[in-house]
């Protein structure tokens, strides 16, 4: 086994363990922290795939922005494992069976289909910020500008949603 393989399987295994703990942890704070570790492992995969720009963006967006939002919301709601309720056992068993069968079907379908084309010859530096920036600001310039409009409208929407409105409270 070479070093790359060891890193690949170690990152994958830690990501699986953390993802499963995200699902089964009683306390939502532990779910959030283990989801953060899972995202860190996925960031390691990006580095292994030589996607350095996306590695940095992933760390900034997920660890920096999204997890802070999650943890702040959890703090505002004051949830802990005493207030946590679980589905009935039959629903939990059904959920496990359905998701395992779905995963098996997906893996088998992709392996049987044989749709994967052979790789193209190597061109220089695919995941580097230089080549990515050229494509982003040339070919995908208008979607890139629309993203800023989307983020602005999301920001306005969030402020509107969380503003306290006495008239519309229904309980």
């Amino acid at each position: 086994m070479s070093g790359q393989e060891i890193i690949f399987w170690a990152l994958s295994t830690i990501a699986f363990i953390c993802a499963i703990y995200t699902v089964i942890a009683k306390n939502p704070i532990f779910s959030a922290i283990s989801l953060l570790m899972c995202f860190a492992c996925i960031a390691g995969h990006y580095l292994l795939l030589n996607a350095q720009f996306l590695f940095i963006v992933h760390i900034i967006v997920y660890a920096g922005a999204i997890m802070v939002l999650f943890l702040t919301t959890l703090m505002l709601m004051n949830l802990n494992d005493e207030t946590e309720k679980h589905k009935p056992a039959i629903a939990q068993i059904a959920a496990i069976v359905v998701s395992v069968v779905m995963g098996l079907i997906l893996i088998v379908a992709v392996h049987k289909a044989g749709l994967i084309l052979p790789a193209k010859p190597v061109t220089q530096g695919v995941g580097m910020i230089g080549s990515l920036g050229k494509v982003l600001l040339d070919e995908y310039f208008y979607p890139f500008e629309f993203i800023s409009i989307l983020l602005l409208s999301a920001m306005v929407g969030v402020v509107l949603l969380t503003k306290k409105d006495k008239k519309t409270e229904y309980k």
């Binding site: 070479s2 790359q4 393989e5 990501a15 993802a19 499963i20 995200t22 699902v23 939502p28 779910s31 989801l35 899972c38 995202f39 996925i42 995969h45 795939l49 030589n50 996607a51 720009f53 996306l54 963006v57 967006v61 999204i66 939002l69 999650f70 505002l76 949830l79 946590e84 309720k85 679980h86 589905k87 939990q92 059904a94 959920a95 496990i96 359905v98 998701s99 395992v100 779905m102 995963g103 997906l106 893996i107 992709v110 392996h111 994967i116 790789a119 193209k120 190597v122 695919v126 995941g127 990515l132 494509v135 982003l136 993203i147 989307l150 983020l151 999301a154 929407g157 949603l161 309980k171």
Partner: protein, 110 residues
């Protein structure tokens, strides 16, 4: 300077990445079906988004095509907007019914 990608290694193929991201996606689906807490369900949706992103980056590196990584960049921006709006909706729900348990949200049922 170009670093060697992982696909130069003969023992790791694109099929391994397909398997890894399928398993992560399945764990996300399991979480959505298994939990009652809306915030944990939201985290599992994020996990599914990330597994798909991982597969897009793997195929982009495999085919030496930058467009896949640009697509992942857009997905991340949309995911950030989605999380902000979704958590705002959850905070509003919590303010009204003092719970984020999805089994309590039965106003449409009767």
């Amino acid at each position: 300077m170009t670093l060697l990608t992982i696909f130069e290694n003969p023992h790791i193929t694109i099929n391994d990445y397909i398997a890894v991201s399928t398993v992560l996606f399945t764990i996300g689906v399991l979480g959505v079906l298994y939990r009652r807490n809306a915030i944990t369900i939201f985290m599992c949706v994020e996990l599914m988004l990330n597994s798909v992103n991982l597969l897009l980056v793997a195929f982009s590196t495999y085919h030496h095509d930058t467009s896949g990584q640009v697509f992942v960049f857009f997905t991340m921006a949309v995911a950030a907007a989605e999380v902000a709006v979704g958590l705002a909706i959850l905070v509003t729900i919590f303010r009204n019914i003092h719970s984020v348990d999805i089994d309590e949200l039965k106003n449409l049922k009767n």
